[in-house]
């Protein structure tokens, strides 16, 4: 599926616990399309760090990047220090607001908060206006629509018709609604139509929004997948240690590649 990704694309990726398609990370790196603008929904971790480490990333819009209990994201932090990537520091609800604007076909969404922050000072795409519905004053920030070219995530299942079960991780639907392309890896593909039963339908992202689905058992590993398997904290810690240096990162990625071959 990595062939859908072209240089310069804006790529939306989900938060650690929502269903990260780690299975797609290596194919994306091998495919090699660079100058990517990542949008973390609303924060990033291992996948972002590895794409940055592989040199494919031009900018990162995010509310945070870290490896959780394993500490800071080493290649991301190094790239920040070197000025190798452009940062668009945000706050979680601003990323959700930008996606919601795209979902609604609106040019922007208003968001409370933010005024007086250095986030706002460094974002020339955000705009402060006086609330037109107030009697005067009442400044409020407008967040422009975030329209990713492609969204990539991993979930437990899809059906043969391309319907994808996202359960209660509805940010995955929000990302898909806002995106041109939606690439999904899954633990399993089921025979029955997930929309045919109201119980399963409640957690479905309909095929209408899905570009491609691929089978990838344990596809979130070393992240966990809700309702399926826990996070492999030891492996993330092993990565965190290895990736402290560019050489260590290259060695880790090369080794993992050999293991997967």
């Amino acid at each position: 599926m990595a062939k859908h990704i072209e240089p310069g694309m804006r790529v939306a990726l989900p938060v650690d616990y929502a269903g990260v398609s780690m299975a797609m990370t290596r194919p994306i790196i091998e495919h090699g399309a660079g100058d990517l603008d990542l949008v973390c929904v609303p924060t990033g971790g291992l996948q972002v760090d590895q794409l940055v480490g592989a040199g494919l990333v031009r900018s990162v819009e995010t509310s945070a990047v870290s490896l959780g209990e394993a500490g800071g994201a080493p290649r991301f932090n190094a790239a920040v220090k070197e000025g190798a990537i452009r940062l668009k520091d945000a706050t979680c609800p601003a990323i959700h607001a930008g996606l919601m604007a795209a979902q609604k076909g609106s040019p922007f969404m208003p968001l409370r908060g933010l005024i007086g922050t250095d986030l706002l000072r460094h974002r020339d795409d955000w705009r402060v206006v006086d609330n037109p519905l107030a009697d005067g004053g009442d400044p409020i920030v407008l967040i422009p629509a975030i329209k990713p070219d492609v969204t990539i995530f991993h979930v437990p299942m899809a059906d043969r018709f391309g319907n994808v079960w996202i359960g209660r991780r509805r940010e995955l639907a929000a990302m898909a609604y806002a995106s041109q392309l939606v690439l999904v890896t899954v633990e399993r593909i089921v025979e029955e139509n997930l929309l045919a039963d109201e119980m399963t339908a409640a957690g479905v992202l309909p095929a209408l929004y899905v570009t491609a689905v691929a089978l990838a058992p344990k596809g979130a590993w070393p992240y966990g997948l809700w309702g399926e398997y826990p996070t492999d904290s030891a492996e993330i810690a092993r990565y965190a240690k290895a990736a402290r240096t560019a050489d260590g990162f290259a060695a880790y990625m090369g080794q993992a590649q050999m293991e997967s071959a």
Binding site: P42, A64, C92, P93, R112, R168, W226
Partner: protein
Amino acid sequence: MAEVLPREVLICTIARLLDGVRHVAVGASSPIPAAGAMLLRAMKEAEGAVGPRISILGSVEHNFFTNGSAELFDCAGQGRIDAFFLGGGQIDGFGNVNLVGAGDYPRSSVRWPGSFGSAYLYFVVPRVILFREEHTPRVFVEKVDFISAPGVSPDGVFRSGGPIALLTGKALFRFDKTRPGFELESVHPGHDLAEIKEATGFRFAHDAEPRQTALPGRATLDLLRGRVFDELAETYPEFAAQMRRELGTVDA
């Protein structure tokens, strides 16, 4: 008076700061705030009252939301979250919080994860408790290098929330948004004013002889060491186990 661990003092102080809230949200990697909220719930229920609702964020097992990661912020915007905790790589005397990095932005010399939801939640959650155990001049600075979320806002800026207190490993401060600034409320056992002044990079108001932070009574400690640590063990097993190991030492 029973012997009390320093972290038990923190937990009991948090329960006191939360008194009266209906709904508190805590982070998945914040066992001490979670323990404080759980202790308050246990105390309320022991009195026959209704305890606060506790939402633990990012936890798969204790996820009471069903609308993705946006729901916490929506919920706060609706006024349904009364209390929240915020840490910070740097916190200054105006209540400004920096979660982004030290040095010149964007090429920070030290980069922290990022602002998360602070730039919104700090504005709309009525009782934000700043909590950072490490009490050093590196953390508590005169002026933060980057404002992830400001302690106060000018008149005319919509703001229904903000900081009410700062709790550290050494002391409890109240935040006075009219000055604005912090006021030393009490000093934890084993610490004193001189030490706290040295460890704090910003100026703060204080009595000449500050009080000691109130210690929990027997009944509270029993609730904490019984029901609350049991509940805590479900979500924060390592933390609960460690507390129990330390208590083993204390009890011995």
